[in-house]
Every structure is written in structure tokens, then in C-alpha cells.
């Protein structure tokens, strides 16, 4: 059975296979949807959608059958806070579109523009089981931390050619310690500026002119913030200190904003308040370093405690070219007490809900996009690997530039006496 699947996977090496009817049978399915866990079941894929999921799905005669051999099948993973498609090499400016520095382009910057589905990091992240991502803009602070908003996040698909899935899934802002630096040095100054800016946004949103100062924000920036004050676009705020989180909860309530907390090292200390406000939290569970005075309470148990308090939690990978570590981050949260299924939810259905793409992805349900992964073992474990990856019903090539490099050099090591190699 394993050999059969390996051969099937080989057939996809050249290019993503065309959509068709595929039945993945004999699978241990974690649907992350209403059907829950199916110990032994079938997923029927028709073209780019899931047609059926369950223990007793009839397999049409024309379906290509893939026997999962009892292995685990999950929805494709969703990484939050990435630069996939916006970045080739971090240190090479020409290959990094995740941050911009232009007067008058702050909130107006949309990371969903200028995406490259051929970017090198994409296949490498995809081999970690990641099929969709929430790309977030970063600040360009080379001239000092003077931009208030980083810009707008976008949901992307890790299979070309049309990579942009949904733009404007969140407006990204730094508050607390980092936000203070963006507002001349004090937290209170940033809150005051935000209050005035949102007033101006409401004014232009109602067809008026912006009243007075807009603190360096252009008309384009203010316009970009209209969906935020309207509650159509969530405001994702990077903030760590417990007291700063509480202030941001109060500010969002006062301003009627939809809030997402990001980073949130000390969120566990105010978990009940976050749960009451029904605000989701996006975090990196392995970040337990007291890296700043706002993060002295950082702990590996942050995710577990938030989840126990009833907060919806999503996880990030380890940044830029280290997105494939997303699933290990979830595993590390599970290792210190987060229930396993909540760990998987934090990289599938939870980010889909938080960023408003759960109508398409995040769980294995009829009608949703057929994004799924067949795993050799436990998807959250360092000992498990992705065996097959489908995005919108298409089997993805199980190769990256890294596997090509490996395959070029490995024979020289395993069979040193054999002639050949790249430089013969």
C-alpha cells in the first residue's frame, strides 16, 4: 500500500496533476469539521472540491483510488503571519516585498499585490503540509520606527498560478512597546493618535473631509482603514504585555473594532478578559523567551491556558523561510498540555475562521476546497512527514529546490565509486 502511494506520488513529480475525481480510501481522517474524527473513511474529491467525507462513501467507478493504508489525513495546514509569495530571500531587498517604505503608504500597503507564485520558499513550506497562508506585511524600520500601520494582510494559496485567495483579511498594527516607539516613545501617544485617525476615517467614510491632522497618514491610508472602522476588516494588533492587551481590548470595544491579538506573550495572564471579548489570538507557541520587558511572563503554556479559558488560538511558523516548522510549533504546544486536536485546529480551522476563509478551507467538508495532506505519521510530530499533498483537488509535486539539491549530491555520498555528479 505504501509502495502504491509512493508510485502514485512519483507520477505527480513533474507537475501538479489535473483535477479529476479522486477517492482517498482507508484513511484515518481528522475533518476538523462537523464530521469530527473518522477512524477509517473515504474522502471523495471531484475536480477542486470535496464531494463527500465519511466512513461509508460510495466510490464512483471512474474515480482514481488512493489507499491511505490507515494513515492520518488532515485538512491542508494554514500558516499565519507569513511572507510566502512576497519574499524570496530576506536579506535581498529586490527579492523582498513584505515591507515598504514610501511616504503616504502605510495602511494602504496591501501585501496581496505583487505576489509571486514561483517564489522559492513556497514549495519548501508546502512540503511541511502548508496549503494556504495568511501573508502579513512587515514594517520597514530602516529609517526609524515611524510607520503606524504595517498594511493589509492577504490570504494566499500555495499553488499557482493564481495565488491570491482573498485580500484585506486584516489590517496589521503594532501596539504596546513597539507601538510606543512608532508614536514618539509612549504607549499613550499611540492610542491618542489612533483615536484621532479613526475619527478621521469615519469622517471620510461618511463622505466628508478628514478633520485636521492624520499623523502622517495619507488619504489612501485613511481610505484603507474604512473597512476597519466599519467592522468588515479585523485589526490585527501585535502586543505582548498583559496590561497592553487589556488596554487594546478596551480600545477595540470603545471603537467598535474587530480585534485579533498577535504575539501576545502574556495573553495567558488576561485569558478570561480575552475570552469574554471573543477576541482570537495568533501566536508562536515556542516563544517563551523573556525577550523584552513586555514579555517577561512568556511561557510555553500560553496556548494551553488560552485554549482552556475558551479563546480561539491560531499558530504561526518561525518566520519567512521557516514556515514549515508550523506543525512542530503546534506539537510543542501539545507537548505541554494543549489537547492534540486543539493543536491541529490552531493550524487548520481556527486560522480559517479568524481570517474569514472558513467558507473555503480549514476543514474537510463537502463543498469546501479539496486541500488535504496524507501523513506518514503524526502530523504534529518531528517523526512524521507529509506523504501526499492536495490543493484544490490537485496533487502537488513532492519536490522543492532543496530535494533537487539533495538528489543531485546524495548519490556521490551513497555510491562514491560511481562516476558522475554535477561537476563531472
Amino acid at each position: 500500500m505504501i509502495r502504491g502511494l509512493a508510485l502514485a506520488a512519483l507520477a505527480f513529480v513533474a507537475a501538479p496533476a489535473a483535477a479529476e475525481t479522486v477517492a482517498i480510501v482507508n484513511a484515518h481522517i481528522f475533518t476538523m469539521g462537523p464530521a469530527g474524527e473518522i477512524a477509517r473513511g473515504t474522502i471523495l474529491i471531484r475536480d477542486d472540491r470535496i464531494a463527500a467525507v465519511g466512513p461509508d462513501v460510495a466510490v464512483p467507478a471512474d474515480a482514481r483510488k488512493i489507499d491511505a493504508g490507515g494513515r492520518i489525513v488532515t485538512p491542508g495546514l494554514i500558516a499565519t503571519g507569513t511572507g510566502l509569495g512576497a519574499l524570496e530571500v530576506r536579506s535581498v531587498e529586490a527579492a523582498n516585498d513584505r515591507a515598504a517604505r514610501m511616504p503616504g503608504i502605510s495602511a494602504a500597503f496591501d501585501v496581496g499585490d505583487g505576489l509571486d507564485p514561483d517564489a522559492l520558499p513556497i514549495p519548501i513550506a508546502r512540503l511541511g503540509g502548508i496549503t494556504r497562508a495568511i501573508d502579513t506585511p512587515l514594517y520597514d524600520d530602516r529609517g526609524g520606527p515611524d510607520q503606524l500601520f504595517a498594511g493589509q494582510a492577504a490570504a494566499v494559496t500555495l499553488a499557482g498560478p493564481d495565488m491570491l485567495m482573498r485580500r484585506g483579511v486584516a489590517m496589521v498594527l503594532e501596539a504596546g512597546e513597539g507601538g510606543a516607539a512608532r508614536a514618539g516613545g509612549a504607549r499613550g501617544a499611540e492610542i491618542a493618535a489612533l483615536r484621532a485617525i479613526l475619527d478621521a476615517v469615519r469622517a471620510i467614510g461618511h463622505g466628508g473631509a478628514a478633520p485636521g491632522d492624520s499623523f502622517g497618514l495619507s488619504h489612501a491610508d485613511l481610505q484603507a482603514l474604512v473597512p476597519v472602522v466599519d467592522g468588515r476588516m479585523p485589526l490585527m494588533v501585535t502586543v505582548h504585555r498583559a496590561s497592553d492587551i487589556k488596554e487594546m481590548l478596551a480600545f477595540a470595544e470603545e471603537q467598535h473594532l474587530r480585534l485579533i491579538l498577535e504575539g501576545a506573550s502574556e495573553a495567558w495572564r488576561v485569558a478570561d478578559a480575552i475570552a469574554r471579548a471573543r477576541v482570537p489570538v495568533v501566536l508562536i507557541p515556542v516563544r517563551n523567551i523573556p525577550a523584552s520587558f513586555a514579555q517577561l511572563g512568556a511561557t510555553l503554556e500560553n496556548a494551553r491556558r488560552l485554549q482552556a479559558a475558551g479563546v480561539t488560538v491560531a499558530f504561526e511558523g518561525n518566520g519567512n523561510t521557516r514556515e514549515r516548522e508550523l506543525r512542530y510549533n503546534a506539537g510543542n504546544a501539545v507537548a505541554v498540555g494543549l489537547p492534540w486536536r486543539d493543536g491541529l485546529a490552531a493550524i487548520t480551522i481556527n486560522p480559517a475562521r479568524i481570517f474569514g476563509i472558513a467558507d473555503r478551507v480549514g476543514s474537510l467538508e463537502p463543498g469546501k476546497d479539496a486541500d488535504l495532506v496524507i501523513w506518514s505519521g503524526d502530523p504534529l510530530d518531528t517523526l512524521g512527514r507529509a506523504d501526499a499533498i492536495f490543493i484544490r483537488g490537485r496533487a502537488q509535486p513532492m519536490v522543492s529546490r532543496q530535494t533537487l539539491l539533495r538528489d543531485r549530491y546524495l548519490p556521490l555520498i551513497l555510491h562514491p565509486q560511481a562516476q558522475g555528479g554535477p561537476t563531472k
Binding site: 530571500v89 515556542v286 517577561l296 523561510t321 506539537g331 539533495r406 555520498i413
Partner: protein, 462 residues
């Protein structure tokens, strides 16, 4: 009379110089091999037995159900079916795993301490491309909370290096991972010093972008060679003085050249940050030109391209499985680097260079092992554990003392809740010289460092 006076003066002068020769050289004008001696002493320990655990000894052996005896701070015996002598504290290891204490062969904690402040990067003396005269131990803050986090990850020994901004960054130091109020109390007794060198983009970014040398890789190579020529001359001056019975004034001491001369003497080990295969090959030629050895290439993401060469030269490769792509020289990484070095008969080491990864080197080794197996490289757990234990000890020059569970060695031991290569494995108990330094269930081991004392949230395990 005049003649007599002259004779007397000459005699006095000869006497004076004879006296001078007989007088010792004032302290500090001749190198003391150990001016900052270790004051580390093992904590008291009781004879301890871990019974019935799955033991990976670090020598390659894999004992599915074995017992390990520790006594007097040393490993007493390891094997299947060992009887527990009377008076030993017996720990039930059934269902759990035992490995040697983890050795992180590339860390900056203490020197790049948490929290980050404008003065917390104490690892890069980026004021000159050659700062071989600095010793990173003088930048280490023992209260850095990150030491405790590493203990919870099973790390018993670490090498702290200066940063990679300079061609010659300074001396490394190898530490025992114990709570301490002075760095001397952490120093691994007898561990050799290392010299941090760096190839490639970092020195170019640090200096070239400010209009200083090196701005190119060719200027980097010129910079290394210029320094080694000066070191060879310096060493010869001292050899001459010593060979001549140490008569007369010694040559002037130079801390920068003293460290380089220590490398030429074979007493200081070269730890060379270098990513690309072509750069590593050039560094090997430089070492041959001046007659020294490179102990290890660090990061070395392209080591797999020249794995047979590195194995022949006996140079260790301290690398990652997952990190890649932050810069051009890090583009050609493969997850299987360690496994390919190992398969070529080389010395593979997995290290952190990162305080978060340094808490889970066992997982990183697991990723590297799993990727290697997937590529068709046959690696046992017993072999892969060496990447974070015995091979690292070998690279640091401390493999006679630690790195494997062999009778007589220091009892540096980690007891894991599960397969240590799995993401779910937690270090239940960690021993250093037979004394527990971390117990997941003992709140006293969660005591924060002085810095975090009284700060919020410190009741957490980590």
C-alpha cells in the same frame, strides 16, 4: 685609576644585567595559560540508578531496556539487567528514554542575553574585523534567564561563541549549564578554548557596507592570511625567547596574536562560521598554508556538497535541519545535511545558534534523522543521538569527559518522557555530574534567575 674605575663600572653593569636575567619577568608580561580559572565544582550527588529505560548511550549503542548507575558524579555502569546496589536512589525509567546530556555546540546565550536592550548584544565586537583578542566569557551574564530554559531542554554543556560579524570574533568558552553568580563557576574545567572565525556575508555586511575592508570575499581571505602571517612571526619570537633560556626581556605581549598563536600551537580550536562549500575549501587551504587545523565548520549549509572532503580532513560540521534562506549564502540548505555528512563518514553535529531552538535540539535531530531516512539514508536512533552528544563533545575537545554514557565519564544524563527525537518528549530530569539540575516536577528547579525574581508569571515551568 681611571682604568680601575672603568673596570668597576663594567663589572657593576655586568652584575646588574646578570641580576636582571635572574629576576623573574613581572607578572602579566608572559602569557598565563589560564588567567580566568574555572571555579566550577559539581554539586553534591547521591548514588542514583535509572532502571528499565530505553538508553541511547551516545556511543552508538541502543539498549531497549537498560539500567544506568551513577555514583560520585560519574557514570558507574550502563547495561541491560544490571542489579541496583543497596543505597542507590532508584528511578523507574520504564517507558522513558535516557540519553547523554545534550551539548549545544553553538550558542550565544549569556552574551546575547534576554531581554533585548540597546546593550544586550555583547557577542559582536564589531569595531574591527579582527578582534581575536576578545574573550566571550567576559561578556557572559550568568543571570541570563535563557540558561534555565536550556536546562529544561536537557542541555548540560554549551559552547558560547562570539558573533560572526568579524573575520576573527574572539575566543569561545565552554560552560557547564549550572545556576551561578560568576562565569568562572560555569567554566568547563580543562575544556580547550576555541577561536571564532567567520566567512562570507556577515563581515562583508558589517564592514564593506560602511566603506571598510572587507567589502569582498577576496578581502576576507587577505585579512585571514595577513593575520596568520603576523601570528606566525609572533609565535617565532616567543619560541626564540623560550628556546634561548628565557634570557633578557620577553617579546611584547599582544592579546590578539596570542590567541592566533595558540591556534598554531594546536591548543586553541578553530570554530569557523562558513556556509558555502567553496568557502570551506578555501579555508582548508588557508589552514594548510599556515599549519593549523580547523576543528569545525559552523552552519555549513552546503557541507553536503563536499561531505567526503570534510570527512577526510576530520572537520566537524555543526549545522541545522530547518534553518535556511535568510541570506544568499544560506540558499542551498537541505534538511538532510547532517545525515549526508554522517553517511560520508564525517562528524555531524546539530546545534542551535538560537535560544528557542536550543531548548529542543533533540527535536531538530529528529527532523534531520527523519528527513535522512526519507531520502534513503539508513540512520539508527543510536547514531543520530551522537549529533547532539558525543560528536559535539568531540568537536569541543571534551569527549573524554562527557558526551556519552560510559563508565568513568561525568554523569551528564537526560531522562526523557518519550522518544527524544519526538516533538512530544520532555526532559523529565537532567543530571550534571550526577546531581539533578532540572526536574520537571520539582518547583525548586523552576526558580527564576535573579533578573526574573519577583516578575510576573514565574510560576510557570518554562
Amino acid at each position: 685609576m681611571r682604568w680601575a674605575l672603568g673596570f668597576a663600572a663594567a663589572l657593576a653593569s655586568a652584575l646588574a644585567s646578570a641580576l636582571a636575567a635572574a629576576q623573574p619577568v613581572p607578572r602579566g608580561l608572559v602569557a598565563d595559560p589560564d588567567p580566568f580559572p574555572s571555579t566550577y565544582s559539581p554539586a553534591p550527588s547521591v548514588p542514583t540508578a535509572i532502571v528499565g529505560a530505553h538508553i541511547l548511550t551516545g556511543t552508538g549503542a541502543d539498549i531497549p531496556e537498560g539500567t544506568i548507575l551513577m555514583r560520585g558524579g560519574r557514570i558507574e555502569a550502563v547495561g541491560a539487567g544490571l542489579a541496583v546496589p543497596a543505597g542507590y536512589r532508584a528511578i523507574d525509567g520504564h517507558g522513558r528514554w535516557v540519553t547523554p546530556g545534550i551539548i549545544d555546540a553553538h550558542s550565544h546565550i549569556g552574551a546575547e542575553a534576554a531581554p533585548t536592550t540597546s546593550v544586550s548584544d555583547q557577542a559582536n565586537e564589531d569595531t574591527s574585523p579582527n578582534t581575536a583578542e576578545v574573550w566571550v566569557e567576559h561578556s557572559i551574564w550568568p543571570q541570563d534567564p535563557q540558561f534555565r530554559l536550556a536546562r529544561a531542554g536537557g542541555v548540560t554543556t554549551l559552547m558560547i561563541l562570539p558573533g560572526s560579524d568579524n573575520l576573527f570574533g574572539g575566543r569561545t568558552i565552554t560552560l557547564r549549564n549550572v545556576p551561578a553568580t560568576t562565569v568562572q563557576a560555569m567554566k568547563f574545567p580543562g575544556a580547550p578554548y576555541g577561536l571564532k572565525m567567520a566567512c562570507g556575508e556577515n563581515p562583508i555586511q558589517t564592514y564593506g557596507s560602511h566603506g571598510r575592508a572587507p567589502a569582498t570575499r577576496m578581502a576576507e581571505v587577505a585579512g585571514y592570511r595577513r593575520a596568520w602571517i603576523a601570528a606566525a612571526e609572533y609565535r617565532r619570537r616567543w619560541q626564540k625567547w623560550r628556546g634561548g633560556g628565557e634570557r633578557g626581556d620577553p617579546p611584547a605581549r599582544d592579546l590578539q596574536l596570542e590567541t592566533l598563536a595558540g591556534v598554531l600551537d594546536g591548543k586553541i580550536l578553530v570554530h569557523n562560521h562558513c556556509y558555502r562549500s567553496d568557502e570551506m575549501a578555501v579555508m582548508i587551504d588557508i589552514a594548510n598554508e599556515f599549519g593549523f587545523r580547523i576543528t569545525a565548520f559552523h552552519h555549513a549549509l552546503e557541507a553536503y556538497k563536499i561531505a567526503p572532503l570534510l570527512a577526510r580532513e576530520g572537520i566537524c560540521v555543526a549545522t541545522w535541519a530547518s534553518s535556511w534562506g535568510s541570506k544568499m549564502e544560506a540558499l542551498d540548505a537541505v534538511e538532510e545535511n547532517a545525515a549526508m555528512i554522517d553517511a560520508a563518514g564525517g562528524c555531524a553535529v546539530i546545534k542551535s545558534d538560537d535560544p528557542i531552538l536550543g531548548q529542543r535540539l533533540n527535536q531538530e535531530a529528529g527532523i534531520a534523522m527523519t528527513a535522512g531516512r526519507r531520502a534513503g539514508i539508513d540512520i539508527s536512533e543510536g547514531r543520530a543521538i551522537r549529533w547532539i552528544t558525543l560528536n559535539a563533545a568531540h568537536m569541543l575537545g571534551i569527549d573524554r569527559e562527557t558526551g556519552s554514557l560510559e563508565p568513568g565519564k561525568r554523569a551528564d544524563v537526560a531522562l526523557w518522557s518519550a522518544d527524544p527525537f519526538s516533538v512530544y518528549a520532555l526532559a523529565d530530569t537532567v543530571w550534571l555530574d550526577g546531581a539533578p539540575i532540572w526536574d520537571r516536577r520539582d518547583p525548586s528547579d523552576r526558580q527564576p534567575s535573579d533578573f526574573l525574581l519577583g516578575e510576573p508569571g514565574q510560576e510557570q515551568a518554562r
